[in-house]
Symmetry: C2
Subunit: 132 residues, 2 copies
């Protein structure tokens, strides 16, 4: 079952300048900074109750986040939808709905990316986070 | 106070084809269709617990949603952050943070758009919805 929006990612060129701008608007500090080496990104997170807002800075070229930044510039990157069972959703929707294999996000979240053509150009993923 | 993500808007060219695609992924029907004449959009909404996912189809040119579609194509358009008091947030952030005057969204939501340069290209707005 799709339960809620788990996190929303925004691509930024430079976390050092983006973090204070977002902290001012959201009126709260980031909760953590992380690095996802295999994804090629540095990350800062805000806790907005049920949803994380995640700022993502690509750290090298040749990755999906870096390609997105190059093509579209800064801004919205991805919406992640929480499910209580990723295998159940893959069975319901079919493998052809997804783009690439299961991978691990922050905090060992299990994620599958929905093919970009499925959602009229919106980058959407499913996540089974175990509650984080 | 910024409380949660109230809604997220995605721009689509054609609601008639986008609605069944999103209904399949989200595994639920839309809750309503609406038209915002002055904004030049037709709208379909999904209820995702605390957050609405809103599909927006521009119906005429010369509007901000139509310009966004033309420039960026389909996909993410806007994130709306719920506050319990829009006037308090405008006082806290200052008028210069916002782009344009207060306006009314669906269901008489009161909204103010944050200037696009403030958030590194992400279109973000504040909303006082009275709980809807």
């Amino acid at each position: 079952m799709i339960q809620r929006i788990h996190h929303i990612n925004f691509i930024v060129r430079d976390l050092a300048s983006a973090i204070p701008a977002w902290e001012r608007i959201l009126n709260r500090p980031i909760t953590s900074r992380d690095r996802l080496e295999e994804r090629g990104v540095d990350i800062a997170r805000f806790d907005l109750g049920q949803t994380w807002i995640v700022l993502v800075q690509p750290t090298r070229s040749g990755t999906i986040p870096a390609a997105h930044l190059e093509r579209y510039g800064e801004g919205f990157f991805l919406m992640s939808l929480e499910t209580d069972s990723l295998p159940d959703e893959v069975r319901r929707l079919g493998e052809a709905t997804f783009d690439g294999p299961q991978r691990r996000g922050l905090d060992d979240w299990l994620v599958r990316d929905i093919g970009i053509a499925e959602m009229q150009g919106a980058r959407v993923q499913l996540v089974e986070s175990g509650g984080t």
